[in-house]
Subunit: 466 residues, 2 copies
C-alpha cells in the first residue's frame, strides 16, 4: 500500500476529470473454487486498489462528485470470523489509512444509491467482469442482470484510463520489483530444465519463486514444450533433447503490480540450426520494435514494423515469398504471428483490460481491428511518457492453422506451403520484455536476462546469471 | 479420468435412487481474476466430475429420468480459440469417452429445459456456489436470481450424497495418491524450515511439490507461525527460534481428488517444554479419536471423546478445572478447540460441502448444532465402511476469544483465566491425518509422517524420512 496522500491525490484527479453524479467502485469478493468457503487466492479489483488501496474482500466505495462525499461500505468481522482469519483492522481504521472518513455497513449501499437515483444523479460504474458484481449491480440499481452491462459509464472509464495509463514513480518501482522477481523465475526455469524433467517440474519451481517473494503470479504461468499454443496450460510433457521450452510468466508483488516476461530456450545447451534461425528472426523483430519505443510513436506502427521483420526473415528461409509490405498489409504473416506485439502493464498484466481495449489501447479515431491477427493487438495508440508496456513478438507454427489456411488457398502468393511443411512440427518461439516509455525513448525494466540466442546458449551451458 | 463404464454405472445408480423429472448438472466456467480473460486455474465442479468425468469449462449435462436421455451441452472450439488453447477433443468425442451419445450446442439448454417444464417435468439441480450458475439458472428456469436457491432438489442432493459418501477402490487409490503427495509437501516444509526463512519461503516450496506432482492444492495452504488463526493466509512472518510452524495443506491429483494433512513443528530441533506439553495433549486427543474409528460409531461422539481428552489435558496443566464431562457438555473446551474434529474427504477437501452439511454430515434426525464450537463440526453422523475422512484435533490460544470469554465471565467454573494468561501468546497446534473406514475399523491413508512429538523432534534433528 502507498501513503494515504497518494490515494487522496488520485481521487482528486479523478474528480477533476469528471462532472456530476455518483461513482460506485466495487471491490472484489472471495471467489469460490469447488464449494463456497474454498476460495481461490483473493485478488482485489485493480481500479479499487488504485483509488482506495484496501486489499480485503467485500468492500464497496463511492464518490459523490457533487457533494464530494467519499464512503467505504463494509462490515467488521465477528468473533466467529476472527477465529478463522485472525484480527483484522476495523473498516474505520482501513478507511482512515487511505484518507476516507465516512464508512457504512455493506447493506447501506442499496439505500444510498436508491436515494441518489431518486435525486436524479447519474450513477457511474465500470462494467463487471465477475458475475457476483452483475448480481450486486442488478440489485443495487434495481434493473435486470442483462441490463447491467449497458449502463457502464464511458466518462468514468475514460477518466480511469487516463490516470492509470501514466505510471507514477512509486508505481514504476513496484512494477520493477515484479519484473525482477519474474527475472528470477525465468532464471530458475533456465537453470533447472533438463532432459527427463516434466513441464510440471519447472512450473512448480517457478511458482515457488513467485510465491516466496510476493503475492502470486500475475497470470497462470505458461511452461510448455509446445510454444506454438499461445496460452498452453497443459504441463504433463517430459522434456527431451531437441525440445525447446517456452516459459511465459509474471510475478505479482504484495501490492499487486505485475511483471510479464517470456524466454524460449533449448533443453540441450544449444539450439538446433533450424531453431536458431527462427529464434534470430524473432529477436530481430523484438529489437526492431524496442528501438522504435518512444513518446509520439503509434504502437500499431511498431507492431507492423515487427511483423515486417518476421516476414522478411521467413522470406529469407523460403517459407514466405513475394513483397514484404504487401504480405503484411494482407495479413499473410498472421499464419505465423497470430497475436499482438504487446500490451500495457501495471496493476493488471493486461493493464485495465476489464475497462475495454477500445478505451485502453485505442482512441475515438483509432479503432481496434477485428481481423484475425490484429484483434489481439491490445495496444495501438500513440505512446506517452510514463506508459509501461510489453514487447513480445513470436513465431508460431500451429499445425491446425496451417492446414486450415492451406485448405482455404489463402496467401498462396506469400506462403510456400511446401517449404512450410518442413516446419509444421517446429513449435513456437516468443521473446518478451517490459518497458517504461521515458521522455526520450524507453527504459527496459528489471535485471538483465539472456535474450539473444548466443546469450541463451551461453547460459544453458554455464548457468551463470548476469 | 476413470473408465467410461465407471461413469455409466454411477449414473445408473443415481437414476435408481430417484423417481421422475429432469436433472441438470452444471459444469464450472472459467473464473476471472482481475479481468475476464485472466483466469484462476480451472476447477471443474466435483459432482459434474463424479457423474460425467469431463474436465473442460462450459459444459452442462442433463439426465431425463423418464426417458433415460443423457445429453451433454457444449460448444466446439473455433480456430481463434485453438490458436490459444491448442487442439481439444470435440464435444462428441468427449461425450463418447464417458458413455454419453447425445450432444447439443450450449444454447440448446434453454429450449430443452423450457420444453421439459412445459411438459410438467420436475427440474432437479443442486444449489449453486458460483454466481455465474445463479445467473445461468435464473435464465434457464426463467425465474429471478433470488428465487434460484429455493428451488434446489433435496431428492437429488440426498441421492448424490449417498453415492459419493462411499468411495470405490479406484477413488481410494486416487485419494491415497493425493495424500502421498501431501505427505511429501509436509516433509518438504519440515526439512526446509529454519530461522530466518519466511512463511512464504516454505509456502512456495510446498506449492512446488503439489504443482510438480498433480493438479494443484486442494485448498489454499496454511503455512503460519500463528497456528491459532485457523485459516491464516498471511505469510509474511520470518521464522525465529522458539516459534512453531503449523502447515495445513493438501494436494489435488490430476483427477481432482484431495489430500489434507496438518503438522505442527518447532523452528528449533526441539519443542520447548511448554510446547511439548500442549502438543502431547493434542496427540492424545488425536489418537483417542483415531482408535474409535469404525463403522457404526457416531462421529459426533468421537468428536466429544477428543474434546474430553483436550479438556483432561488442559486440566492437568491447571488451565482448565472442574468436571471434565460437564465442562465439555457446556462447551468450555471451545475456548481452545473451536472447530470440528474432521470432515469427509474426496473430490472436495470438505467433501460435498456445496451440497449442504446437513445432508452430508448429518441426517433427518441428527441435526447439526448451531452452537459456537459445534457448528464447524461438518460431520456428525454414523460412520460407514468406505467413507474417507480427516481427524484433526487442535488446541488454539486465540487472544481475542480468550479476552471476550473472560469479559463475559464465561466458563468461570472450568477455566482458570489467571493460569491461561501465561498461554495467551502460545499460538496453536493441530495434527491431522486422513482415514478410510474399513469393515472392522480404519486404515490410515498415505505414507508415514512423523506424528508424535518425539518423532517430530527426531525428524527436525536428522531430517530422515520414514
Amino acid at each position: 500500500m502507498f501513503l494515504k496522500e497518494e490515494y487522496i491525490t488520485r481521487r482528486e484527479k479523478l474528480k477533476k476529470l469528471m462532472t456530476h453524479g455518483l461513482i460506485i467502485f466495487f471491490g472484489n469478493e472471495e471467489s469460490s473454487i469447488n464449494f463456497k468457503d474454498n476460495h481461490y487466492p483473493f485478488r482485489q479489483d485493480s481500479t479499487f486498489l488504485y483509488f482506495f488501496g484496501l486489499n480485503e474482500p467485500g468492500l464497496i466505495a463511492t464518490i459523490d462528485l457533487d457533494t464530494n462525499d467519499e464512503i467505504i461500505f463494509g462490515d467488521n468481522l465477528s468473533i466467529d470470523d476472527i477465529v478463522f482469519t485472525g484480527p483484522v483492522e476495523s473498516i474505520e481504521e482501513q478507511a482512515h489509512n487511505v484518507g476516507v472518513s465516512q464508512i457504512s455497513p455493506s447493506l447501506g449501499i442499496n439505500g444510498y444509491v436508491a436515494e441518489a437515483i431518486a435525486k436524479g444523479k447519474q450513477i457511474h460504474f465500470i462494467s463487471p467482469y465477475r458475475p457476483d458484481h452483475v448480481l450486486k449491480l442488478a440489485s443495487i440499481l434495481n434493473v435486470s442482470t442483462t441490463e447491467v452491462r449497458d449502463k457502464e459509464s464511458v466518462e468514468l472509464i475514460k477518466a480511469i484510463v487516463k490516470l492509470r495509463s501514466i505510471k507514477s514513480s512509486e508505481e514504476i518501482k513496484e512494477i520493477e520489483k515484479a519484473v525482477n522477481t519474474t527475472v528470477n523465475m525465468q532464471y530458475k526455469a533456465m537453470e533447472m530444465a533438463t532432459e527427463g524433467l516434466t513441464e510440471a517440474n519447472l512450473y512448480g519451481a517457478v511458482q515457488d519463486v513467485a510465491l516466496a517473494n510476493g503475492n502470486s503470479t500475475s497470470f497462470p504461468t505458461i511452461m510448455t514444450i509446445n510454444g506454438q499454443i499461445l496460452h498452453n496450460h497443459y504441463r504433463g510433457n517430459t522434456l527431451k533433447k531437441g525440445d525447446m521450452v517456452l516459459c511465459d510468466c509474471g510475478a505479482e508483488t504484495y501490492s499487486c503490480y505485475a511483471g510479464d516476461l517470456t524466454r524460449t530456450f533449448p533443453v540441450d545447451t544449444k539450439f538446433t540450426h533450424k531453431q536458431k534461425e527462427i529464434y534470430d528472426i524473432v529477436y530481430d523483430s523484438y529489437i526492431t520494435a524496442v528501438n522504435l519505443l518512444k513518446p509520439g510513436q503509434l504502437f500499431k506502427n511498431i507492431h507492423l514494423a515487427s511483423c515486417k521483420k518476421i516476414t522478411e526473415g521467413l522470406m529469407a528461409l523460403g517459407i514466405m515469398k513475394g513483397d514484404v509490405d504487401k504480405a503484411v498489409e494482407l495479413g499473410a504473416h498472421t499464419v505465423f504471428f497470430q497475436c499482438g506485439l504487446g500490451h500495457m502493464l501495471g496493476l493488471d498484466v493486461h493493464d485495465m483490460e476489464n475497462l475495454g481495449e477500445q478505451y485502453v489501447g485505442y482512441t475515438d479515431t483509432l479503432k481496434q481491428s477485428t481481423a484475425f491477427g490484429f484483434k489481439s493487438l491490445r495496444l495501438g495508440k500513440v505512446l506517452e511518457e510514463g506508459m509501461v508496456l510489453t514487447v513480445e513478438p513470436g513465431i508460431y507454427f500451429i499445425p491446425e492453422l496451417i492446414a486450415l489456411r492451406k485448405s482455404e488457398n489463402m496467401y498462396m502468393e506469400f506462403i510456400d506451403y511446401e517449404v512450410l511443411e518442413h516446419y509444421k512440427d517446429f513449435g513456437g518461439i516468443r521473446i518478451e520484455d517490459d518497458f517504461l516509455i521515458t521522455k526520450d525513448g524507453y527504459r527496459k525494466l528489471g535485471n538483465r536476462l539472456p535474450t539473444t540466442s548466443n546469450e541463451i546458449e551461453e547460459f544453458r551451458k554455464h548457468k551463470v546469471r548476469f
